[in-house]
Symmetry: C2
Subunit: 441 residues, 2 copies
């Protein structure tokens, strides 16, 4: 227990000795220094740090894995969880989601993002890729929650030059604001929403901005068939080729959905080093009618990662559920049960996600930041334990996570998250007020 009271473990970065956990089949101890870095990992690593750790966490044979990385979401949409389901996409947007979004305030974004971060901490996600509005407030929520995020303002110019100016300034403003935070857990990205909402000029501006700032690009790509047919009609080429013309396809780009890519587009993404974020739950719920062509992307060497999309179309942020659904959907849609086996699904949710967002996480190794989660094996879903990776992907859920650590700071310990009820109450109140405002408008 070290020399401190256990509740102090949540307060700030401390040195930690995590004993008796299992990673990739090996029983190890993990030593985390006060800077939040994994300083040592290995069998009996505890012997190298006698009396050194502020806190000792008895892993009790738990599985240790890198914190999961959610590479596509709209975090504050947690406020719309369950507000509208089981509708045609256009009705859902026009009748339910947009009227609510029209009344969003910065305060809503703060509470919605706090709720999202809370849910992610509880389900083992330590980093996410966000695109929404009032992103200064999202940054405040991420800062306070203790997890990692890449934040982008949803750039939508609708081919209007005046609107475009506004979106460019908002993108610049967010980048400046995030830089002013000097928080290694938070980065800004350019967020051109999609080819059907952003002009070629807007896309080119975003590409240039990201190149100058060395920041990421977060975009929706080929979620629906209509996007493809409209793009061909308007630009004479398919969406990926159109984005390539505008300079959007880079190794810092995360393209979400990618359902309707053809094989040539998959090769182009692979060649450009783009990360493709698979969002199977959202795609199934909204009936995109096609699953991301994982076999083609995989063959092209594309970095395929995983995202939940926003809570309005999922309706949770559980990356364990997403990994299982990805493995199931790929097998079913491509009619081959050998596609996307458990180890690949787990890599998509961890290492590939970290690579997509440019964070030095996603692996448990000396020198890497301590972004890690512990999953107890004293549970039904981990009994028996023939194959830990299989259990993590196919049997466990986010609720199996007991301890979550990001950048060396303990955010959840044995299922306890300090301040949880305050966040739930604040978010519930914001959601109620939002609906009330939209209904009285």
């Amino acid at each position: 227990m070290g020399e401190h009271e256990m509740h102090e473990i949540f307060e700030k970065n401390r040195s930690l000795l995590i004993t008796n956990v299992v990673t990739e089949g090996h029983a190890v101890d993990i030593f985390v220094d006060e800077q939040g870095t994994i300083a040592g990992i290995g069998k009996n690593e505890r012997k190298n740090h006698p009396g050194e750790a502020d806190f000792i966490i008895d892993g009790d044979g738990a599985l240790a894995l890198p914190g999961l990385v959610n590479t596509h979401t709209h975090a504050a949409m947690t406020l719309m969880r369950g507000y509208a389901d089981d509708m045609i996409l256009q009705d859902w947007l026009a009748q339910k989601i947009w009227p609510l979004e029209a009344h969003l305030t910065g305060n809503d974004i703060y509470w919605g993002t706090r709720l999202a971060c809370l849910e992610m901490i509880r389900t083992g996600t330590t980093a996410f890729n966000d695109m929404y509005f009032f992103m200064d407030e999202a940054a405040r929520a991420v800062d306070e929650s203790g997890i990692r995020a890449v934040l982008s303002y949803g750039f939508i110019d609708l081919n209007n030059a005046e609107k475009r100016e506004n979106e460019c300034r908002a993108t610049e403003k967010l980048a400046l604001h995030v830089r002013s935070l000097s928080n290694p857990r938070i980065k800004a990205a350019a967020g051109p929403h999609a080819i059907y909402t952003v002009s070629p000029e807007g896309l080119k501006w975003c590409a240039e901005f990201a190149r100058e700032q060395k920041c990421g690009i977060h975009i929706h790509l080929s979620e629906t068939e209509k996007e493809v047919t409209d793009c061909i009609a308007q630009y004479g080429k398919r969406p990926a080729a159109h984005l390539d013309t505008c300079g959007i396809l880079t190794p810092r780009t995360v393209a979400a959905h990618c359902c309707w890519l053809d094989e040539t587009e998959c090769k182009l993404l692979g060649k450009r080093g783009v990360s493709a974020s698979h969002n199977p739950v959202s795609n199934m719920k909204l009936a995109t009618n096609r699953a991301m062509p994982y076999p083609w992307l995989s063959a092209a060497g594309t970095n395929v990662c995983l995202g939940t999309d926003g809570c309005a179309s999922n309706n949770n942020l559980d990356m364990f559920e997403e990994a299982k659904t990805a493995a199931l959907l790929q097998k079913f849609f491509w009619n081959n049960p050998t596609i996307l086996p458990a180890p690949e699904a787990l890599a998509m949710a961890t290492a590939n996600g970290a690579k997509a967002l440019g964070f030095p996480t996603g692996r448990l190794a000396a020198g890497a930041p301590a972004d890690l989660v512990l999953v107890s094996t004293r549970t039904a879903c981990n009994t028996p334990l023939h194959n830990a990776t299989s259990n993590l992907v196919y049997a466990c859920s986010g609720g199996s996570v007991e301890t979550t650590i990001c950048n060396g700071r303990v955010l959840m310990l044995n299922c306890e998250i300090p301040g949880e009820q305050d966040v739930l109450n604040g978010a519930a109140a914001a959601a109620r007020a939002l609906v009330k405002r939209s209904q009285s408008a």
Copy 2:
């Protein structure tokens, strides 16, 4: 707290007053008598039972819903959780599952079924429909675990008259054994495995046996396309028509999978009052290449319910996950986001399942047995609470269940299940020994 120590609540049926829970949008109290029946439910029902209850459970605003019903599983296959995944069906069976099954003992079935019941209690399932071997041992495990089950011996004659005799005797023996238990929670059923493993004579015998005994019939139907083409080649008709000829399609019949039914077969099932058990996770994992035609079955008035299949092809028994996956798969496969909305998915997992198994449960009403679960609303997945049914289906998982009650007996209270570690240890040991025996054979 009533007059008893709280740990005594698990010991046997007591009268219970569950205060301040929400069901179908109404805040109610529920009074359960010592016989395990819901004796009263309503606003301020507590006032009708002053000082009467042995125990008071403060629901704290939790959602109360009927215990979930898993209408197709092979419970003891929990021992094979994660033993083999991501393989072609035939290889998976021939190289991994069958060799292991060849070494199963009654002791394995006991521990595997105990583990299954534990997992079901934890994830809110209070009744299941089982088909496997050594079913006396399954009955013992169900009896001790406290939940409900319909147990069938997997009848497989492979067109061999001698084998058929054996299977008939095993089916009769199980029915006698279950009757000798006089346990209202446990029923026997006939379990003709499938049309490709049971001769027409065997099917007819099962149909007649079930008619005489007034018991259920549990069968696999049209899981794969091959079953359909082979059936047409051999019998000149599609599987449902073949089963109808053999008398298998009755209101006491549960047909699992039903992926490859055509519209005429769906109408036949509806006409005969058959219950169709949808198993979306297993179907996706094993790549059946077609989703159950829910829209046709629904239009035909068929009772559609839900099952997880065995843990070797899922790999858990979480009926919340199954309900969400059902809603997602139906929307995706039939390319319509309005298909299988949340209320229908929840009904499949509760009322429809109870109807399929012939249990008087699946609803919270005075006079019904107290099979119910409580899901806290003080959690991220239930925040905000715009729509409880949507949250239950799309946002929560089995891990959201905090309290599980079956036939009036409390099996889990605030996530505590007495004796849990003993079951986990027993099942883990059985699984290890089973693999060892099969490898040294």
